[in-house]
């Protein structure tokens, strides 16, 4: 499965037309200790660039943006009890699924190598 990154530091991993969505290691490190993850309500339709939910750390509350358009599916309810899992392994901890994601909507996103180069410029 291919993984794609947005400049706002979310990743999606696409399986058919369903994408798992999380935040990058870079984002998790920048946030610091994560204390709360808002799981978006299933059924909500988002456009690319819309605010999907928020992640709260001891330092700040940050918005998580939808990198692509879709409909919110299943949420990772494990994060309600253990938000710190996002600090431990952010690249393999998804927040929610996005359904009905179109292949051509991936055009503006980066692959892992491009994202690694991108964060070096920050």
């Amino acid at each position: 499965m291919a993984k794609y990154y947005a400049e706002s530091h979310e990743w999606i991993e696409l399986d058919g037309d369903t994408a798992a969505l999380g935040i990058s290691q870079y984002a998790a490190d920048a946030l610091g200790d994560i204390t709360y993850v808002e799981i978006p309500a299933p059924g909500k339709t988002v456009a690319a660039g819309d605010i999907l939910c928020t992640v709260e750390s001891v330092k700040a509350v940050s918005d998580v943006y939808a990198p692509v358009a879709g409909t919110v599916g299943e949420g990772n309810s494990g994060l309600e009890a253990d938000p710190g899992a996002l600090n431990v392994d952010p690249e393999n901890t998804w927040i929610c699924k996005l359904e009905g994601v179109k292949q051509d909507s991936l055009d503006g996103l980066m692959d892992a190598d491009a994202y690694a180069k991108f964060i070096e410029t920050l």
Binding site: Y36, E38, A41, K44, E56, S57, V58, K59, A60, V61, D63
Partner: protein, 445 residues
Amino acid sequence: MPYIPNTDADRQEMLAAAGFASIADMWEQAGVKFPAPKLDGIPAGKSEFEVMSYLSGLAEKNATHLINFVGGGYYDHIIPAAADAIAARGEFYTAYTPYQPEASQGTLQAIYEYQTAICRLTGMEVSNASLYDGGTALFEAMMMAAHITGRRQVVISAAVSPIFRCMIECYCRNLDLERIEIPDGRGTDSALDSLTAAVTDRTACVIVQYPNFFGEVEDLTGLVTAAQAKGALAVCSAYPVALGCLKTPGEMGFDIVTGEGQSLGIPLSFGGPYLGFMAVKAKYMRKMPGRVVGRTTDLNGKTGYVLTLQTREQHIRRENATSNICSNESLCALNALIYLSLCGKTGFRQVGELCMSKAVYAREQLLAIPGVTPVGSGAFFNEFVIETPLDGAELVGKLIDKGFAAGFPLGRYYPERKNQILVAVTEKRTREEIKALANAMEALL
């Protein structure tokens, strides 16, 4: 020295950007006459003595001597002298927003204890550190429900304070929110069946008052359950003194409870400062506006108090804050805490019981007057509605001349209730005062 920090050059730049030649030109294009300040009519200075005499004269025009039976959301309760004496201590009086916990433990602890008191009163899980007043708190609850549900329609009972509804309408005028007002039951009930029927899967919240504006105490559990089954939130504005005796909104399952805290040790005055309180279910605490104080332990294991969840507030989240009401009514909240602490759990319940039994006595006395009839047949706490052959405003006006503020003429907000008066009785009213009111009213009818 001018106190306006922008310079002539700054002003010219702003005017140019907005496309105006001068400030006078801006007013002219706005179609408004330039409000040139007239300073020559201001009299010469007066001495302190003269100013005090003048202001005391103005204050004496207030009818503070009347025996008060007016409620409608703001009540004439006893305030122990100790409440003001404690609240006026310099350590509390001058304290501002306690951003630095190391310098503000006393203020933070007081707010934490206030939150605890509000949670116990309402039967809810989390309280904020207070809001401006009962009306704005109810507005904030409504907006909170809209954010949580993502829905834009609210159902509100006409038996919610017309003052609060007016405030909500004012705040909502330019918001994309649909308000559906459900007429009351024409007695004193909130027409719970109509309210329940009006809640659909498009409704963000249903808003009721407890006891309602006409004083009736209703079990709202069925409405709450039905609203929640439609995915809507149940919001209640409550009278805190009644909560010392009655089933709490928390027990009825409400999601958000707000109210006017004036009755908790804050004197009646024209427009405040009053106190808004808000308490919610724990699952909604991150959507709750305003600040919250939490208890924690420091490095040495000692108990300490800090502002918590403040990453959601406007000094960090800016335009994405949960609300722009952040500075709170700390001093009024402190008054409420001191009042509740001085009363104690038993004393506070006794205040409520006295209100109830005196209200029952007053209602009996007034209904014994020929021509006075009861309105509504439901249970009430300390406030009830009567109807007389006279226009309510006229009757109340005549009774002011006899030394009584006899009640709130309902026709002012409910035209079909022209001859009805809402009468409130607190623990302050004596048997003699109640009898005297009945005699004075009987003489006028």
